[in-house]
């Protein structure tokens, strides 16, 4: 990356876009929310899938991998057979939950207004 070439892009100093690329991915915010609701408790893979309606095994898997690589989620494997894998938010992940919760609150309070604007624009 960093094509210092020509039409060169925005600035690498814009972490916001990079963050939105991550949390904007289809299932990430829901996974963070579910894990945040669990508080200190760990949540197993299947349980997460149950609590995130519509998510496929694959997408939940890649989503959790991504969050784990980013240091937002911690993964713990019980070496039993069959294995049990537990997830929880890291401290960093919990700190992200704060602004994310604010965004959720905004969404809950204002999506209706956005829907109304869209309906009005549909003329």
């Amino acid at each position: 990356m960093t094509p210092s070439g020509k039409g060169d892009l925005f600035d690498p100093a814009c972490p916001t876009r990079r963050l939105l690329d991550r949390i904007g991915t289809k299932w990430t915010s829901m996974a963070v929310k579910v894990l945040a609701e669990a508080g200190e408790d760990e949540v197993r893979f299947a349980e997460l899938q149950r609590r995130i309606p519509g998510v496929s095994q694959k997408m939940l898997s890649v989503t959790l991998q991504s969050l784990t690589r980013d240091g937002l989620v911690a993964r713990r494997v019980e070496p039993t057979v069959p294995p049990r894998v537990h997830y929880r938010l890291t401290v960093l992940g919990q700190s992200l939950e704060v602004p994310l919760a604010a965004l959720r609150t905004w969404a809950e309070e204002n999506m209706a207004a956005i829907d109304r604007a869209n309906a009005a624009a549909a003329d």
Copy 2:
């Protein structure tokens, strides 16, 4: 839209995902930021493009259309020739800026930690 159709999915009671679908789109958050920085002032199309490095005419256009339909941005056309089109955040758009700014702050403060986690995971 209005996923009353079929591709329908999880619960419609989750406005967060729908919001993230919008602001998570590549240029939306940057456009909102630039418009927010302008405060009460209006910003012209070309000026927005100048302030959002890398955005194409087309993408800026569709982004602004989307924001306008959502009632987050107001569009004003001066019927001169050539025309001048001005954009500004609506009150709703300004209210979105608040949680969005919080997310930006988080991003600026913690993306480095995420990058470090990624580097550490690259083993």
